[in-house]
């Protein structure tokens, strides 16, 4: 993290539609080179928040700066500098991939080679295919191509993998990771836990228009009361006594005493203690497995409901 001004800065953001408050006071910063995720269920206010930042919607209240621009006041200048992949969008049925890229590149004050970007996104072979003939994954890659056509330093990806099958989702993930390695700043919304854990440097969990938790995935997991599970397997049965028990830990042996399952509050320390104990008792360690609490657990704990219902 640098001392420079954040790429995105949001303070007290509120968006109301009549009586309905879609966003109820959100604050966060996104820094240069960071992949920042907004994680939350459908209708949590993620898309509304992102679309306000993109200059698509007017906010009701709050201060927002994106790349130093106020999206309400300078939407044109802002849109010229960012890349956007929208959630629900389409192109004309009979536009070809290459035509779409060339069309959109004409809208920006600077743009990169359409050929280069299509090759990079493995769409070059499909350049003359009509939009209507593309698969879901190809459409999403084209959306990414359009989002990158102006070589933006800040990219908004709204639910980039929703509705795609697992294989294609992985493809998109690796593309996003590639973008991250270019040192671009990415704001991503998702309701997939794995996606947030895998791709994001920092995550804000959003529910009912509020951020209920924010931090790196690890920090969030660490904050939970949920416990990690340690599973240890040995060649020989473990001794019946002197097993180290830290405060809050719970131990359970299998019937043959070769497998030990521990739920731990501070798993790192517990593992060190356990490994020492097994070593001293002369047993041979066969396998050790640590299962941490997921962001799902964090979410359930914070809201009392599951992410996807």
């Amino acid at each position: 993290m640098t001392a420079a001004a954040p790429v995105i800065s949001v303070r007290g953001l509120i968006k109301s539609y009549g009586d309905f408050k879609a966003v109820r006071g959100i604050d966060f910063d996104v820094h240069a080179g960071e992949v920042f995720g907004l994680l939350g269920p459908n209708g949590a206010g993620k898309t509304t928040t992102v679309e306000i930042l993109e200059g698509l919607r007017q906010r009701t209240a709050g201060d927002v700066k994106v790349l130093g621009f106020d999206p309400n006041a300078q939407p044109g200048a802002l849109k010229d500098r960012i890349g956007v992949s929208l959630q629900a969008t389409n192109l004309q049925d009979k536009i070809t991939v290459l035509e779409a890229v060339e069309l959109f590149s004409a809208f920006y004050s600077r743009s990169i080679s359409g050929e280069g970007i299509l090759k990079r996104l493995q769409l070059w072979e499909k350049r003359n295919a009509f939009y209507q003939t593309l698969s879901g994954g190809q459409k999403q890659r084209l959306a990414l191509a359009l989002a990158m056509i102006n070589d933006p330093q800040l990219i908004f990806l709204d639910e980039p993998t929703t509705g795609l099958d697992a294989q294609v989702r992985l493809e998109i993930h690796s593309l996003i990771e590639e973008l991250r390695s270019d040192n671009r700043t990415i704001l991503l919304t998702t309701h997939y836990i794995e996606e947030a854990e895998k791709l994001c440097d920092r995550v804000a969990i959003v529910d009912e228009g509020r951020i209920i938790a924010m931090g790196t995935p690890r920090e969030l997991q660490a904050k939970t009361l949920g416990q990690s599970r340690i599973e240890i397997k040995c060649e020989q049965p473990l001794p019946a006594d002197n097993a180290p028990v830290n405060e809050g830990d719970h131990l359970a042996f299998s019937d043959d005493r070769r497998t030990l399952t521990v739920t731990a509050v501070r798993p790192a320390r517990t593992i060190v203690d356990l490994v020492k104990w097994i070593d001293q008792s002369g047993c041979e360690l066969e396998d050790i497995h640590l299962e941490r609490p997921t962001l799902e657990d964090v979410f359930i704990e914070l809201t009392g409901k599951r992410l996807r219902e």
Binding site: K79, V84, L103, A106
Partner: protein, 626 residues
Amino acid sequence: MRPYLANIRINLKLTMRDRMVLFFNFAFPLVFFFIFGQIFGRGDASGITQVISMVLILGVLGTGLFGAGLRAVQEREQNILRRFKVAPISAAPLLVASLVTGWVTYLPSALLFILLGHFQYGMPIPAQPFSLFAILSLGVIAFRAVGLVIASVVNSMQESQVLVQLLYLPMLFLSGATFPLGLLPNWLQIAAQFLPATYLNTGITAILVRNESLAENAWPATALALTTAVSMFISTKLFRWEKEEKISASAKLWLLAVFAPFAVLGVWQAQSKETINKSKALTRDIQRIRTTFIRNARVFDDSGSARAASLLIRNGKIEEIYATEPAKSVYEKAAVIEGAGKTVLPALADHLVELTDPAAPAGPWKRDDVRRALAAYLFSGITSVAVLEDGDKFAAEARQGERLLPEITVTGATAGFVRVTSAEELAKRVADARVIDISGVREAIPAAVLRDVSKSGVALLPALVSVEASEQAVKGAPELLERGLIQQVMARPRLEALRRLVQSRKLKPAVEQANLGVASVNLRLASAEGVRLVMGTGSGRPLVPHGPAIHRELQLWTAAGVPAPVALRAATGGLVLRKGGAATLLVVDGNPLADISATERVSAVFLKGERVPRSTLFEEYDEDAK
């Protein structure tokens, strides 16, 4: 500039790939073209010109309303515009691209129809191609812009469909594109003045048929340009990128703003009737470019005799006179009149007409009465009348072609027209007159006076029928009224009133102590002395009916001893039938050179190539009587 060009380019490509566009631009008008071409074209230039302007307008309306109106809504509904919203462009490049695309895709279809009309049905190539191009361009861009406004005030495809149809159908049927405006009831004609398509139609037809320029159609052109400007302003203001952004129902009222220029034009037109009259005149012009072939008739030519010949009439002119019957291919696309037993003459001219009521010369005489009387001339084969006074307004009507009327020239003292009542007066006025009406002269004119007249070149107008009518008025004998053609031509109530008036001997004669015998002798002597003679009837004078009186005049001349060719030459006002001349003709049954009364048996009358619809000529005026 780049976003504009890129959008135009892609829009054009997408349009070319869209089957609906091909359908509305080409297939749909093409079907209309062939169906109506078969019905009305008949290879004849007038019908096909109407069909062409119809399909041109069909294309403009389709490209504009369906092309822009539906497509823009579709792109919003399918979340396509959303993607454009996150790009740094305004609505303007999208809207402009739609206008340009409509324009570029429309023009080839317009060209196709004009060429098809030319090669398939013999329509003349437009003489003002630039003006036609300009008015079509203005039209298609204006309607495209209207389509965009429709797109911006509706919330769904369904609403858009309804609104498009609501505009499309009336504009198709009331603009004159499908039916001539003149056929519609009066209130609909006025309602049509509020539709942009009416102006477009009038403009296109005027340029196609009349070879008018764009400048002569400045009003419609300006209104179309204004519509474009207003529409673009409104659709920019109301442009929506996302289907979730709904617009209030009252926003549809913006459409009214689009039509504001036409509301102003419409109110003005409802007063002035300029466009209504112009479209009637255009219908007239279209009639005049019809092709007619008169086969194997007796043709009265400039030699004063009659010979067998066939005539081809096209574009208002006598295109050719064939001494022997030409190949069928020459006239296969024309309306054919079988000429056997018929004689073709130049149409007649009556050189002395007073626009008054022959039953009550001093009484009230409404404008429509005058128009009916003028129509009676056409019915009787007279296409040109010289009126003493009060003819100006009708002369203008006739010239502009808004009504089918004979050509009217206004004579009078300033034109050198003089009426005398004695031989002495005649001798005096020879010096300063050009035409002298001698119907009032009750004495024999000395030969010396006639010689002077002959030398001076002044023309005498005997109006024998005025003299005869005066005799009958005095006698209370309405014989003149019993003649067949008069019975046909005069409105029944007026005929009855006139008959009663004569029988009661209350009708004051035009010529006191009239003496047809003396007048006839004067005419014969004048003819013998070589005096220039013109034929006029003095119709409108007591008991001299408008129209058929000239046939009686012809009979009185031959009875007086004037040879038939001389009398006919005087009655046709010097018109001759020649190739390239105006096709203003009278076709009669029989041979007037052998029996002058044959002129009464009118078979057909042509005015500048338009066949006068004799059977329906009085309908407009006799509606009350029916």
